[in-house]
């Protein structure tokens, strides 16, 4: 009886050891706007390959400084195209590994239902106290928001009402707590299965700002890690693209 249990125990541990030899873990830096879809994609990736992905969310700018100063990340999913290119140029990322995984959509959003009209005319009324957006210097979605205000010739009028956050997740926080009546966020933050989850929104027409091309890149730390290289492959697979589309991104092609 006892021997039986012992054997089972040994077999169980052997099994665990097999797992750990073949399954690897990769550390991924993910731009804040892509946190929801990436969590879902990572879960699918684990199921499909047995590898796992540890996700770290934040602003692209912060990740670039961390990577250039020895950050342990193996993949960067940036909110722009520039940052991966810069990392390759500076020798921190693998040349040729970069590709556009999603094209972002900008949305003017309020937590209050019926507050933002479908054409975004509330912007020109200026009838609010705070307009939240991510710092245009640090976050591509913030830069796109400023472009939109410029295109609508509202920049000068609305400048005093703008409150800036460090990244797009924080802009969402300002708005969802009601501290800012409305603001620009990524559609993925307020969108699921074809509709706005709560509040009211105007999906900004793509011609009002340069396309937000979000690129992924393999970092030097990840070259040897099969989990890292396979995750980049999985990101282009049909199940992953399905998730990306579900959260309101355009696909690259």
């Amino acid at each position: 009886m006892f021997k039986n249990v012992l054997i089972r125990f040994c077999l169980f541990f052997l099994l665990l050891m097999c797992q750990s030899t073949f399954a690897a873990t990769t550390l991924v830096a993910v731009a804040a706007n892509f946190s929801k879809p990436m969590s879902e994609i990572a879960a699918g990736f684990e199921k499909a390959t047995g590898h796992s992905a540890n996700l770290s969310f934040g602003s692209t700018g912060k990740f670039v400084s961390q990577i250039e100063n020895g950050g342990p990340f193996e993949i960067l999913l940036a909110a722009d195209e520039k940052s991966p290119e810069k990392l390759i140029k500076d020798g921190y990322a693998v040349s040729g590994s970069q590709f556009i995984y999603a094209m972002g959509k900008l949305v003017l959003w309020s937590a209050t239902a019926g507050y933002v009209d479908e054409k975004g005319e509330i912007l020109s009324s200026g009838n609010f106290k705070h307009l939240a957006l991510a710092d245009p210097k640090l976050a591509p979605y913030g830069a796109a928001a400023i472009e939109v205000l410029n295109d609508l010739k509202l920049q000068d009028k609305l400048q005093p009402l703008i409150v800036q956050s460090e990244n797009i997740a924080q802009a969402y926080q300002f708005i969802s707590t009601g501290n800012a009546e409305l603001g620009f966020v990524a559609l993925s933050q307020v969108f699921e299965n074809g509709k706005i989850i709560n509040g009211s929104a105007w999906i900004v027409p793509a011609q009002l700002h340069a396309p937000i091309k979000q690129a992924a890149v393999l970092l030097n730390n990840g070259i040897e890690n099969p989990a890292a290289t396979e995750l980049l492959v999985y990101l282009k697979s049909a199940p992953a693209l399905e998730v990306i589309k579900k959260y309101g991104y355009y696909l690259a092609q």
Binding site: E68, H130, K137, I162, V163, Q170, Q173, T177, G178, N179
Partner: protein, 228 residues
């Protein structure tokens, strides 16, 4: 070199810190006095609440403040009722956040120096017909002077170094809520390392000088310097 935008953030930071320190001394003095003399069963609770910001991550404090100061939060409802709107993204919102955040650094040194003032000296003052208020200003304040200096300096410098709370409730508005710590962080994130170095260097020099003066020039009993 420092740009004019960087200088603005330094000035604004010192302004927030000066106002917050004044408020903290005004509130902290009676509070510390009460805490040092009372036998009330509430003492433990109040002590714990005052010390909370020492333990909590500033982002927790900032997040609660953001929620409470919003239009549906308790503070937000109150300030709207007063007719001054909500405090988030304003200068006085930052001052409020700083007061809560740095309060333990003011109350604790005051409390320790008050605790060391003997009952006898107060009784002696009373026999000379000094009212309690009189003896507070003529006996307690001179005796606790090192405690006041320590409290003011620690309160001020800790507010200058504040980051997490401002990040959550500030909104990065030039001349209103863009303080030096946020500016340094943004320089680093934008990979403007040279600007970040200049500003960070200034802050480092300032903090070191102030603390050096505090720990070498001012003669205090060890009890009044809880962080020594």
């Amino acid at each position: 070199m420092l740009s004019s935008a960087d200088l603005d953030t330094l000035l604004l930071t010192f302004k927030v810190a000066a106002i917050a320190t004044t408020i903290m001394l005004l509130i902290g003095t009676p509070l510390a006095w009460w805490l040092s003399r009372t036998n009330s069963s509430l003492k433990g609770v109040i002590n714990a609440i005052v010390a909370l910001p020492l333990v909590l991550p500033p982002t927790v404090l900032g997040f609660y403040l953001l929620v409470l100061m919003g239009p549906t939060g308790i503070i937000g409802q109150f300030t709207q009722w007063l007719g001054i709107g909500t405090l988030s993204f304003t200068f006085y919102g930052l001052v409020l956040g700083s007061v809560l955040y740095s309060m333990p650094f003011v109350v604790q040194p005051l409390q320790s120096s008050f605790a060391m003032i003997s009952k006898q000296s107060l009784e002696a003052a009373a026999t000379l017909r000094a009212s309690p208020l009189d003896s507070f200003f003529t006996v307690v304040m001179p005796l606790a002077k090192p405690g006041f200096i320590t409290a003011a300096i620690l309160g001020f410098t800790h507010t200058v170094g504040e980051f997490g709370v401002v990040m959550m409730i500030g909104g990065n508005i030039p001349n209103k809520t863009r303080v030096v710590s946020v500016q340094i962080y943004n320089h680093v994130e934008a990979l403007e390392y040279a600007d970040a170095h200049w500003l960070a260097g200034c802050l480092l020099l300032f903090s070191f000088t102030v603390l050096l003066v505090l720990y070498t020039q001012i003669k205090t009993s060890p009890m009044a310097q809880p962080f020594k």
